[in-house]
Amino acid sequence: MLCMLLKNTENNMNKKIINPEDATNIVKNSIVKRRSKDSRLKLFGRVAIGLAVCFLLFLFYSIFTKGYPGFFQYYVTLDINFDRERIDPKGDLSDNSLFDGDASAIVNESLFFIIEPKGRKEKKLAKKIVSSGKDVRIAKMVKDDPGLFGTVTKVKFALDDDIDSFLRGYIKRETPESERRISDKVIGFIDKLNEEGRISYEFSDYILSGSASGNPEMAGIKGAFIGSILTLSVCLLIAFPLGVATAVYLEEIAKKNRITEIIEVNINNLAAVPSVVFGIMGLAIFISIFGMPRSIPLVGGMVLALMTLPTIIISSRAAIRAVPPSVRDAAYGIGASKLQVIFHHVIPLAMPGMLTGTIIGMAQALGETAPLLMIGMVAFIVDIPNSVVDPGTVLPVQIFMWADFAERMFIQKTSAAIIVLLGFLIAMNALAVYLRKKLERRW
């Protein structure tokens, strides 16, 4: 084949360019090989995408399968005699009074009535079956509805996490007693409760309303969630105006000189600084030098704000740059001043881009963990923060902490918290996409 072509072209060497017919033949002969190469590349692309999507699905699958049960837990239903004398000795429903009361004992009595433990040792074991939050629960119930006093009402109590794990089948009956966390006695109690139909598997009322707790069955994410919101609010309030102002200044006002160049390089570099370094800076500057308290959302928000600032600035600048110069020319040509051009045209047109950038920055901040560890938001805080200066933690840090705990139930709770966090993130990203779609203009 090639021989023939060679001959053909030799004839045309004087013409230098191959003549069209020969060219057509050459192309036709090589086309099969070229086509197969083509399909190979396409295949590689498909495989790559497939792999990435598989990873993603696997990740979601594993989180969801682990986390879904985390939203549920086992409860035991007990008949509680709401004796005002014992629960609320001072009779004023005050915290002090309820604290002094003896709600736990009432619960235990009700429990003992069913499972009939014998002896101190058994009673001690039996007491542990119901989660230690029982008295708090009763206190809360009477506070909400003082009419309960004097009645005997069925109340549900969370079971201890070991019992929970047993019921879920993580702790096997077959395992020798010495190797499992609960004794045969306790299993007997549970069987009894089960026979009575008093054990139920229900949506956990702790996961969303509880806060950090050493008892896995009582641990919830409300505190972390509020902490996250507070932190993010601080972050947004600082980062958005600063970011937009900086972007506007750099793109529209600043003359190109050394200083603006330095600022630009600076911002680009800040975007690349690992997040943990921002934590170090927060630790060294805000806490050590300015003497601000540790663990508060204010500091966390400030650190995250500085961290997301480059993201916002860069995306805002991109948005501003995407505003066609022709619009500026048009406004200048009519006699608008620089600021009018900026505020009437550039910012409104760039706003969708700026907002999307900001939301994405916020989403990033929401999931950020390392810098907050540095400034001590990792502390074990039971109270739900009320303001930005109350100590608190945030969702991802909560996840990090729980992930370290040994109790089986924490794995599920962690996964559940992750689901909530991801839901939150997806909502934010959806908002960003929606905004972009809604506000995006074609020009």
């Binding site: 590689f44 990740l59 900086t246 600022i263 943990v276 800076m281 500085l306 600021l339």
Partner: protein, 462 residues
Amino acid sequence: MFSFYLLTVILIISLLFFLLGYNRAKNLINSNKKNLHSLTHYYGIFCSLSALLPTLGVFFIFTICDDFIFAELIKEYIPDEVINSKDYNFTIVLAQINNSVEGLVFGTPPQWVTNAAEIWKSWVIKSNILTVIVCAITILTSGFLSYKKINSEFRSRNAVEKIVMTILAVSSVIAILTTIAIIFSVVFESIRFFALIPYDEFLFGTVWNPQFEGAERAGSGQEGLSQYGAIPLFAGTFLISIIALCVSVPIGLFSAIYLSEYASSKERAFFKPLLEVLAGIPTVVYGFFAALTVAPFLRSSGSMLGLDIASESALAAGLVMGIMIIPFISSLSDDVINAVPQSLRDAGYGLGSTKNETVMKIVLPAALPGVVASIILAVSRAVGETMIVVMAAGLAANLTANPLEAVTTVTSQIVTILVGDQEFESAKTLSAFALALTLIIITLGMNFYALHVVKKYREQYE
């Protein structure tokens, strides 16, 4: 609360000045029967801003400074014997007094603390009164002066614009301040660290075994047990990054090529956001995934193959990190590939190229610098990544190239050292800052290079 009320009042007054200025301009127009230089509301804004801004400045100076001044002044009221005592710490004392001021009392504080607190409280009242007076004077004079400035010649729009521009310019300085803060916070502690540990030992030492001095002292006097050779950390970081790249570069690149060149618009609209979801997942989730799903899985499948895989292996962390950075590569590459003008593709197709040839010979070469930059950015992301390695890579400072073993990284060491209570004097604590410094230098270097490449590449099309 006080500050909040004061701020509200200041804002209201400046609003009033807006109305004043606005009306004055209106009146001027009516009396002169001639248009002013600027639209009327600019006169209002001018008055309002010139009243508000200096007052806010004064306000913040007062509220920030008073605590410092009080802290200095209160020293007078601390008894000598307390100052002279062995474990005197001014910060703690100050905290005691502050707690007392705010009514948080744990047990019975010493008398002098209560006294100091009383004095402090009286200062606070005085300073509040002073603040109010000074703010009032400032807002009224500056507001009034600006009001007086308004006449038919005055160009309020230009004045307002100058003010706003200044505000904008000032905000852009924050970025610089942040950088300075970062450098400041890292460099000083690092210098102190290198005063304790020679830098060559840090840079070239092969054993990383930091101990708190306190622990050292308590721990049966094994002097010199602490070792700060950072090589294992770098090696670990490097190992994990390499694994991550091995996962993410091919997947990311091929995805990008597929999405931008082969996929139909529907496919693209579906898969691209899906890939970007990977980037949106918080790292702590990846860490959790790596530690609780991937690592056990690797371990069990490893043992089936007769391999001994550590429960916290570099492989698990690297794999998961690789997944995490897929979208950094795919998205960025997709962007740069898309930025290659359609006209170049048309040119290619017009000449009779297959898709493969168009991609490989025209599009990719044109986008190559951008692709490389995206990879470098991904690397710097990997190097700086913290949570995955903290949760999945372990803390064992092994110097090994075996991905099946546990390794530790720079970032995970920083976190472990700095989380919790620190002794700021200890070499261990300080070592975290030195590590951070090296981390910054490395990531910035890569970033710098990548951005440079990207910029050069952009200029080609602009």
